[in-house]
């Protein structure tokens, strides 16, 4: 097969878009333009929350070691910390959504 045959093969029969194509595209574009932009993710708040969660995790891991060393571990205090952490985790999504 010659170069010319290949060239002709690739240049022949250009496809014509259908008559409704342009209108269909513009309808989609207008729909897209009318859609409100997505709410940006609140990275700054999320970072603070992530740091707080990491700190909580570290505290939870360190606590048994402290107890093992013979120091008095106040179990009630840790229960309260865990409960506060749970409540905090539950309100995080609401807090993130309130961001404008």
């Amino acid at each position: 097969m010659t170069e010319d045959q290949i060239r002709r093969g690739l240049l022949l029969e250009p496809v014509e878009p259908s008559a409704a194509f342009q209108a269909r595209v513009m309808r989609q574009i207008r729909q897209e333009a009318a859609t409100p932009p997505p709410i940006p993710f609140p990275w700054r708040r999320a970072l603070w929350i992530a740091l707080a969660l990491i700190a909580g995790l570290v505290a939870a891991l360190v606590q048994p070691e402290v107890a093992a060393e013979g120091q008095v571990a106040d179990q009630r205090l840790w229960c309260m910390v865990a409960a506060a952490g749970s409540v905090g985790a539950a309100i995080v999504p609401l807090w993130l959504l309130r961001l404008r």
């Binding site: 097969m1 010659t2 290949i6 060239r7 690739l10 496809v15 595209v25 513009m26 897209e32 333009a33």
Partner: protein, 182 residues
């Protein structure tokens, strides 16, 4: 160099005149649908792909840096989209023998007009992507090497090498197919 009409339309769209995008669609619908058709060999799917390309262009219009021509940016965006979509949902593979169903016993008769166009397109679509894309763009952009290389984001030297290798593969495959028909 960006067409002044494209530039004006982009500025208008970025300033909130959504209808100005219609002139961009009008000017580029044919090339974008044709490029999509070369990838998928399916007219209906080609229109769907081109529609998605226009939508993506509209969404990312601000990302067009004016140092490249608008057409280069648009083709690059469309090519990336088409490649991704075809990886996700590959086109129906068409063997060369199935493409050419009509024709007499004379191979020269088979290798003419519509039949040869179908055979060449099927052979190009079946090439590995690194050779397929340079060939598709080179012929779509009327054999403008610099533009085709820019659209695919590769140096001209690399583009030339892949084009030559792609053509050799194409000649080999089509030659064997035509020989088998004799």
């Amino acid at each position: 160099m960006t067409n002044p009409e494209d530039l004006a339309a982009v500025e208008a769209v970025l300033n909130g005149d959504i209808d100005a995008f219609e002139s961009i669609v009008g000017r580029w619908k044919r090339p974008l649908v044709n490029l999509a058709y070369r990838y998928c060999l399916d007219r209906s799917r080609a229109e769907d792909l081109a529609q998605e390309a226009f939508l993506r262009a509209f969404r990312h219009l601000r990302s067009w840096r004016r140092e490249a021509a608008f057409s280069t940016w648009l083709f690059a965006l469309a090519s990336n989209l088409y490649r991704t979509e075809l990886k996700r949902l590959p086109p129906r593979a068409e063997s060369l023998d199935r493409v050419v169903v009509a024709g007499g016993p004379d191979p020269e008769a088979l290798l003419g007009g519509r039949e040869i166009a179908s055979a060449v397109r099927a052979a190009v679509a079946a090439l590995p992507g690194i050779y397929r894309d340079p060939i598709m763009h080179y012929y779509l952009h009327e054999q403008d090497l610099a533009l085709s290389a820019a659209v695919l984001g590769m140096p001209e030297g690399t583009f030339k090498a892949r084009l030559a290798r792609g053509r050799a593969l194409l000649r080999d495959r089509l030659g064997r197919w035509a020989g088998g028909r004799r």
